[in-house]
């Protein structure tokens, strides 16, 4: 049914809060996480809703485009009439920024995340090759952190992230992964050139457990209050904590397209290719994802690859 796929890379420029809707801990509004790994993610429904919203704002006064929006994303009211022509997977975490003793911060990832990423690229038909060689996902032993040969986060043969130290191990596999991400996954515009180079120097591959711990305990937890205008003090009961994915996190999702299914398809809108072209033609550079839009959260830079 799905005929074409693209990979969407989402780079958070401001903290991103996609709320899970439930809380059992001190954080009142935690973020969405995968049930089996507990890694942060963005549910597909939120991503799809945001992109639909973007498309609707973009084509506010264009009736022809409105038909296409319905064909791509599905009918707004009568959902049983036909399905949309595009499906998204949940946006998964690829790189997570963690404070580093040297180099300000490091982008950390882990073997299980990378293996899944390579598998997803294969499914989407995107080449997971660097310099004509398949991306090789290394294994990492406990207390070890794999870094690139040009790494700038090493202090005394150690990588110190937050208050935890790992033995630094320079590995060519890390070079390959950093190069692939730098070339294919980071935003393309000029202002990102320094970041593309920084990834070659600041990528760290941690053991799976250490990576998960950082994504659980090093997210941004922001305390919010409501100030009463009259007294300029906090309103009673109006203190809450929100969890955010920090800025400079890199996520990815697959967008899978089928031929449009509804009635009255325009002539130039018959195939899965046309569906993906519609998304590409939106030329989305940045868009807003998740909650707290009016306090500047969830600004995401998009890069689309493959297909």
């Amino acid at each position: 049914m799905f005929k074409r796929a693209k990979v969407l890379f989402l780079y958070t420029e401001t903290p991103l809060h996609t709320g899970s809707g439930s809380s059992l801990s001190v954080v009142d509004l935690p973020i969405q996480r995968e049930r089996h790994t507990n890694l942060p993610m963005v549910q597909a429904s939120g991503l799809k809703g945001s992109l639909r919203d973007y498309a609707e704002q973009n084509y506010k006064n264009d009736a022809n485009a409105k038909t296409k929006i319905t064909l791509v994303f599905g009918p707004e009211k009568d959902g049983s009439e036909h399905a949309g022509a595009i499906s998204f997977t949940d946006a998964r975490l690829l790189l997570f920024p963690v404070r580093s003793l040297k180099g300000i911060f490091a982008w950390v990832t882990c073997p299980s995340v990378l293996q899944r990423f390579v598998r997803d690229l294969t499914i989407a038909g995107v080449s997971a090759k660097v310099d004509n060689k398949d991306l090789n996902v290394p294994s990492v032993s406990d207390n070890e952190a794999l870094v690139t040969n040009t790494s700038e986060v090493i202090v005394d043969n150690k990588v110190v992230l937050e208050e935890f130290s790992f033995i630094a191990e320079k590995r060519s596999e890390a070079d390959g992964i950093a190069k692939w991400i730098s070339e294919n996954a980071t935003p393309q515009s000029d202002e990102y050139k320094p970041w593309k180079e920084k990834i070659l120097k600041n990528l760290v591959i941690l053991p799976d457990n250490a990576f998960r711990d950082f994504t659980e305990f090093s997210t941004e937890v922001i305390a919010r209050t409501k100030i009463q205008t009259e007294t300029k003090t906090v309103a009673p009961g109006a203190l809450w904590y929100e969890e955010h994915l920090p800025s400079d996190t890199l996520l990815y999702s697959l967008a899978l397209a089928s031929d449009p299914l509804g009635a009255n398809k325009p002539n130039d809108f018959q195939t899965a290719n046309d569906v993906l072209k519609f998304i590409a033609d939106l030329q989305i550079d940045r868009f807003q994802l998740g909650g707290d839009e009016t306090v500047g959260r969830g600004i995401v830079k998009l890069r689309i690859l493959g297909g």
């Binding site: 049914m1 439930s22 704002q57 499906s87 899944r116 009635a263 839009e293």
Partner: protein, 365 residues
């Protein structure tokens, strides 16, 4: 053809309970999913691969030409499965209902057997022997839950006793509840009355499904398709055909002239828990006698008819894992296996993979 299916992330296999705004706001999932879900997905996939032009739903109601065209392209499609399988395509089947768990003891299982000369009778039928097992004084039994591996299934079907190792449901999948809202673009706030909870299923990373597909099917070597609710995606790839050695099981049946039928998938029988031919004791030239049965609580099998835009009639089905014990009176063992092994005994929805059966041996010892 046999394929291995991996959901890309979560999947939604809805049960038949109502789900609507404001009132029934929870959409819960069943697991394992009904085979009909996979049958529908495969039918759509094979039509799509043949460049079939799908029409909008509003135009296909009463459009017999269109529906006939679908039928002619897919009438011989049959599936066996889906079965839970690991990344090496080793399969795990629903635990047979005659393997029961000792309450309060972690993963301790024993097997029920039909009694030879029961000192007690059930009020269900005088012809049927009750099942029993001897336990210690303070041990109580309960239904086993989970999945049994392919290799252990063969030991079970040979009628051998073993220290069963069963995968708990939690080792195969997790349920993942997700909260949803409706947020109209104009207000950017959530709309009153549109709050819902959908219970998705997430398979643990090494698991997927195997599916045998028969008939004139056009599938590529690998691809992806929609599976279950919310248009979630799954990838598939062709894999080697199933190798199912059953010589040892046949030998057991030849020796004892006793066999059991184990249901790999739910079966719908017009008479409820039992098929007509089980009563009469005749099928495909074989004669047999029903000795006992170990049948789980009925499951409701429904679905949604998208052409008619209404729910399909709800049917009660005998759950997967149920076991029927027989004595073979007349007939050849090879013929017996030919009639039942990986075949459907369901009275309905046979093509859709309901009522798929395995043959095993048993004795009272």
């Amino acid at each position: 053809m046999r394929i291995f299916i991996e959901p890309l992330d979560v999947v939604l296999f809805r049960d038949g309970k109502p789900f609507s705004a404001e009132e029934d706001i929870i959409a819960s999932s069943i697991f394992p999913p009904f085979p009909s879900t996979f049958y529908g997905a495969m039918r759509t996939e094979t039509l799509s691969r043949q460049n079939f032009k799908f029409q909008p739903l509003s135009q296909i109601k009463n459009n017999s030409q269109y529906l006939n065209q679908i039928d002619s392209l897919t009438h011989d499609l049959r599936i066996v499965g889906p079965f839970i399988a690991d990344e090496n395509h080793l399969e795990y089947f629903p635990i047979p209902k005659d393997i029961v768990e000792i309450k309060g003891q972690d993963k301790k299982y024993i097997r029920l057997k039909p009694t030879i000369s029961p000192t007690f009778k059930s009020d269900l039928s005088t012809d049927i022997s009750p099942l029993w097992v001897k336990t210690n004084y303070d041990e109580h039994i309960e239904d086993g839950k989970g999945f049994i591996s392919e290799s252990q299934m063969k030991i079970y079907l040979e009628g051998r006793q073993d220290k069963w190792s069963i995968l708990n449901p939690g080792e195969v999948f997790h349920r993942e509840e997700r909260v949803g809202i409706k947020r109209p673009g104009a207000t950017k706030t959530s709309e009153e009355g549109f709050f819902y909870i959908a219970e998705f299923v997430r398979l643990n990373s090494q698991f997927g499904f195997t599916l045998d597909i028969e008939g004139n099917v056009t599938l590529s070597d690998n691809g992806f398709f929609r599976l279950g609710g919310e248009s979630r995606a799954a990838s598939y790839r062709k894999i080697e055909d199933r190798k199912w050695e059953d010589d040892a099981i046949k030998k057991k049946v030849r020796e004892t002239r006793k066999f059991k039928l184990y249901l790999l998938s739910h079966a719908i029988f017009e008479k409820g828990w039992i098929a007509d031919w089980m009563h009469t004791g005749e099928k495909d030239g074989l004669t047999f006698k029903l000795i006992s049965a170990c049948v789980g609580k009925p499951v409701s099998v429904g679905g949604f008819d998208i052409v008619e835009n209404r729910p399909k009639p709800m049917k009660k089905a005998v759950p997967a894992g149920s076991v029927y014990f027989f004595e073979l009176l007349e007939g050849n063992v090879d013929e017996l296996f030919k009639a039942f092994q990986f075949k459907s005994i369901s009275d309905e929805k046979q093509k859709e993979g309901f009522g798929i059966t395995l043959v095993g041996g048993w004795n009272n010892v």
